[in-house]
Symmetry: C2
Subunit: 210 residues, 2 copies
Amino acid sequence: MGLIEQLEWRYATKKFDEQRNISKEDLDLLKKTFALTATSYGLQPLKLVVVTDKKVQEQLVAHSYGQKQVGQASALFVICTEQSIDATFVENYFARVEQVRGTPSEVLAPFKKHLMENFITKPKEQLTLWASKQAYIALGNLLTACALQHLDSCPMEGFDPQGYDSVLGLTEKGLTATLVMPIGYRADDDFMASLAKVRRPVAEVVIEVN
Amino acid sequence: MGLIEQLEWRYATKKFDEQRNISKEDLDLLKKTFALTATSYGLQPLKLVVVTDKKVQEQLVAHSYGQKQVGQASALFVICTEQSIDATFVENYFARVEQVRGTPSEVLAPFKKHLMENFITKPKEQLTLWASKQAYIALGNLLTACALQHLDSCPMEGFDPQGYDSVLGLTEKGLTATLVMPIGYRADDDFMASLAKVRRPVAEVVIEVN
């Protein structure tokens, strides 16, 4: 199937088949997909927590407004944002650029100066918001990757980040849970699976300037 | 090539080949991809402006901090958010659900009540922020779709939304420009194309709880 057929096929899965696990190969592919996601300035203010411990998943259901797919799914992806977008974070980024590309530091200096003086100096609230928006790019990328691999998933904004923090120990890791995505295979009796996809038609959501 | 190879291949293209245009088929595929993007509650608070008029693209360069790729690209995608997330917007959504799925309105009533009483009543600023986050899901989806089609693109947060508004007449359309994405084919001499991709390794950005 092509991309459009796969995007038509996917839906926000509400009930997963608890007997079916996704393969190690698919899991590895999704982790790589996450790491390859484009982010603003290439800074990657994100980490991905992959939960496959069913007991932990069960604990997280209570912090997800009781949504059972969190406990049922083969893997639970928790897209987290970095809490410290600071000078160290930027230094590490430029160390990586120098290492991977061999770019001399003097060539990178103007960009680095910009980030150090005009970006990380922004109020913490703005940087947190900036990071959280990048998490949505990763979500969009992962949703499409799942569809292409014929994996079911459910994008979720509705959960209690503090509850996730306490169960997963995110604060100690410098992270905040931002988006949640159970991944696996749809249950045969998920009635949502049979419903037609509701979307505004292309002619309604696309405006041409040509 | 597989998904990972295509995601490795893509990069934020800084210089496009002005002689090469993307096909109508690819453009149609990207429009459908946009329309199929998952959004919170399925509400789709987004529209896509597709600019292929080179004179308009040239005008928008000035509102994009002079970034020339906006003028050079075969097509300029402007992902816009809806300004009015209100009762009418929600009514239209439920009319669509009833039409497509034939779901009786009494079945939808509790969800509709929730959106009417607890969601669209939020402060305008919160709804705008919510909508803008959905635009990033569309961006993530479109970036991956482009990579799969071997199309080059450049995700851009850095532009002047008011300038875009004045050139494209977005306010009259009830829209705000949120993200910009020139799409086309990389120029042979875009020096960015030859640089190795800089990413934190999977082992650094993925935390396993198993």
